[in-house]
């Protein structure tokens, strides 16, 4: 199976460790993963801020770069939801504007075969025990677009529960938004920070060493707050936990 890694622009630029973890994890599971270097950004920031027409060329580019792969894996619930939920909507809107089916037809090939990482592991590869070892106490924050957009359900939890050495502790108020919300964090900084502070209070109350999520953008917001306050827990992407083994442990 030809599988492509759609890493996302945020991970490519700021969190290459997450990308390396996905490659290590999927290679260990026997997947031949490619990183098409023509990829850049899915257009989510443009679309969600109101620049739908500005997002269209980015969506077209993504589709052209990834269309010939059999599966597209992304370690981001948010960007995954952008492709799966919003791309069809962008096609519909273009049609409603009298611009025909071109955009819808261009984007259609990537919609159904785009998987968030935990979906790909559980649904496509059919594994929940990925052979990982990670000797830390972890609490899991289900990020909104993965939880409510893609409906990841208990997939991340099942994967984490199967990791040897890992103790998973319940995060109070887990399903409440962390306050990132893309440009929301800049346009309404006080409300965003208040939401983040409550999320951190809940995370700290668990006593966990690690705050895990399947989206680095939310962790960037929470991690930035924790760094400023010089407090824990440490933000870690789920891919880095699942890639960790006894031979090659992640810190």
């Amino acid at each position: 199976m030809r599988v492509a890694l759609f890493l996302t622009c945020v991970n490519d630029t700021l969190y290459p460790d997450t990308g390396r973890a996905v490659v290590r994890l999927l290679t260990r599971l026997g997947v031949d993963i490619d990183f098409p270097t023509g990829q850049s950004c899915c257009g989510q920031a443009h679309y969600n801020t109101g620049y739908r027409h500005g997002a269209e060329p980015l969506a077209r580019r993504l589709s052209e770069v990834f269309r010939d792969y059999e599966a597209i894996v992304t370690p981001s619930g948010s960007c995954g939801a952008m492709v799966r939920e919003v791309y069809p909507r962008m096609g519909e809107r273009a049609r409603a504007e009298g611009r025909g089916d071109t955009l819808a037809r261009t984007l259609a090939p990537v919609v159904a075969k785009t998987y968030e990482l935990t979906e790909f592991l559980v649904d496509v590869l059919g594994v929940t025990d990925v052979g990982a070892w990670y000797s830390h106490t972890v609490t899991y924050h289900p990020t909104c677009h993965g939880l409510r957009g893609l409906g990841l359900g208990d997939r991340p939890r099942r994967l984490l529960e199967a990791v040897r050495g890992l103790e998973l502790v319940e995060l109070p108020g887990a399903e409440e938004c962390c306050g990132f919300g893309g440009t929301f964090a800049l346009k309404n900084p006080e409300v965003s920070a208040a939401m983040g502070a409550d999320k951190l209070r809940n995370a700290r109350s668990t006593g966990a060493e690690v705050l895990c999520a399947a989206d680095n953008s939310c962790l960037m917001h929470l991690g930035g707050m924790m760094s400023r306050l010089r407090t824990g827990p440490r933000p870690v992407h789920i891919a880095e936990i699942l890639a960790s083994t006894e031979e090659e442990p992640a810190v």
């Binding site: 630029t13 969600n48 620049y51 983040g196």
Partner: protein
């Protein structure tokens, strides 16, 4: 909060004050979390919730699609049952009609059933200007009125106040409006309710005219429906001689059968009850029973314009249950007043900029008052995809485009104040369309990483006022991928 919504600052400024008010934060957190959990239990009891939600969506969509037909049918039914129907294009016209109808009775005071439509048009203030006093009889609306405050929640307008604050309002203000509160009033809920009950009872027994809204209007029979918890509505709807109901045109449903769906989903979504305590239904006038005269004022006030928008029209499905407010993390921190409208929370953020347009500072900022977390859509009993409409309205703010205003097709110009953002978006698009440029930018960031500050000056403080910037890695992923042949060369 006192005064009106006119001249409201944009949402971020208004929300900032609320975020810094620890008493308000505590009141809202307690109230929203309590009702959130109760709603989840009440909805969880029904095995067919998903079907009910879908049925509600379809009934509303069908009705909106044929609204012209159902409104005419409703008018015929109400008229045949002895009522009189008035059509109001906007708030001013609706207020003039109600003031005229009250004056024709020779009365100078009215009792009011809790109603969002009359709050939306500012009816109390308009009547006051005509020398007519309107008494709110819903407990929370009474608190808000006595305190010269503004509602901050659709269902629980005084949610921003705690028991002690309510006792203070009763003690200092009730006497000026009628029967005063007892001198030794405490903040015990039973005592507060009894003080309100005695105060209101005088008004119910004296009033000759009542003003209400309605939750539903049934086109086939001309029946109006009010659902409530306190019984004050039943008093107002049955005791006075004249009843005037002001109702938004989107509240019509075709048949009685359609009520079956909403009378299940509304109470469970709003008060987390299986059934609300009082459901009042009336059809025109009835000899020897209830009001002698019934007037229905059908209110447009931006609804037809909203209906013209393919994406935004779903907001007209709303049955005003407030589930989206109670689950919203932004509402919980910002409070209802920050939304600058009688419709706060997620539904307000998509309703106000459509009913009023995006011309004012507050209305242009409302579509951004959300992290797009989707909790509102998940709980909405008529499946309004609020995040979808929010993003659509953001587009209207920054890109402008075709819209309908007062029945006329117009082309809106992009809002001012987004020039820097627009330039940044254009630059980002240029870079993302050229992976070579993206890589050059990434490398530049990586090579200068030791020089990067952890915080930014100026507008960058929106991020770094509370959060450090993420550290830039020594090399972007794509450089590692090419350098190591996807890790196959073994060099990490």
């Amino acid at each position: 909060m006192t005064g009106t919504y006119l001249g409201m600052p944009a949402f971020p400024q208004a929300a900032r004050d609320a975020v810094r008010d620890p008493v308000l934060r505590g009141n809202l957190r307690h109230a929203t979390h309590t009702i959130r959990a109760k709603r989840a239990r009440a909805v969880g009891e029904l095995s067919d919730w998903a079907e009910l939600r879908e049925a509600g969506r379809r009934i509303k969509d069908h009705t909106l699609r044929h609204l012209d037909r159902y409104l005419v049918q409703l008018e015929e039914s109400v008229t045949a049952a002895g009522g009189t129907v008035h059509w109001a294009a906007d708030a001013g016209e609706a207020n003039r009609i109600v003031a005229r109808l009250v004056k024709e009775t020779g009365e100078s005071e009215v009792v009011k059933v809790k109603s969002m439509a009359t709050q939306e048009i500012g009816l109390n203030e308009a009547l006051e200007a005509e020398g007519i006093r309107a008494y709110e009889t819903d407990l929370a609306e009474l608190i808000v009125q006595l305190g010269r405050d503004r509602p901050s929640h659709i269902l629980v307008p005084a949610i921003h106040l705690n028991r002690g604050e309510i006792r203070d309002v009763f003690r200092s203000e009730m006497g000026a409006w009628g029967r005063p509160a007892p001198e030794d009033l405490t903040d015990a809920p039973a005592e507060l309710a009894e003080a309100a009950r005695l105060h209101l009872r005088e008004k119910f027994l004296r009033a000759k005219v009542a003003v209400s809204g309605a939750n539903f209007m049934v086109a086939e029979t001309g029946t109006l429906v009010v659902v409530e918890s306190e019984g004050n509505g039943r008093m107002c709807l049955t005791l006075p001689q004249t009843l005037i109901s002001v109702v938004g045109i989107e509240k019509v449903v075709p048949t009685w059968r359609d009520l079956e769906v909403f009378l299940q989903t509304l109470p469970r979504s709003s008060t987390a009850e299986r059934m609300n305590p009082y459901t009042s239904m009336w059809t025109g006038t009835t000899d020897e029973d209830g009001p002698r005269a019934f007037h229905l004022v059908l209110l447009d006030n931006g609804r037809t314009d909203t209906l013209a928008d393919q994406v935004g029209r779903q907001a007209l499905r709303c049955i005003r249950c407030s589930a989206c407010l109670n689950v919203c993390p932004v509402y919980e921190r910002a409070g209802g007043h920050a939304y600058g409208s009688v419709y706060p929370g997620p539904i307000g953020a998509i309703l106000s900029p459509q009913l009023r347009g995006t011309g004012s500072e507050i209305d242009a900022s409302l579509p951004y008052a959300s992290s797009l977390c989707g909790a509102c859509y998940e709980v909405c009993p008529v499946a309004i995809d609020i995040p979808e409409v929010l993003v659509h309205l953001r587009e209207r703010v920054v890109e402008g485009g075709p819209a309908v205003r007062q029945g006329n097709k117009v082309v809106l110009r992009p809002a001012r104040g987004h020039a820097a953002e627009r330039a940044a978006m254009r630059a980002a698009r240029w870079v993302f369309a050229r992976p070579g440029a993206l890589r050059a930018g990434q490398r530049l960031a990586s090579r200068t990483r030791r020089l990067h500050p952890r915080a930014l000056p100026g507008p960058g403080r929106a991020w770094s006022g509370t959060r450090d910037l993420p550290a830039v890695p020594p090399e972007p992923f794509r450089d590692w991928w090419q350098r190591t042949n996807g890790g196959k060369d073994g060099t990490e």
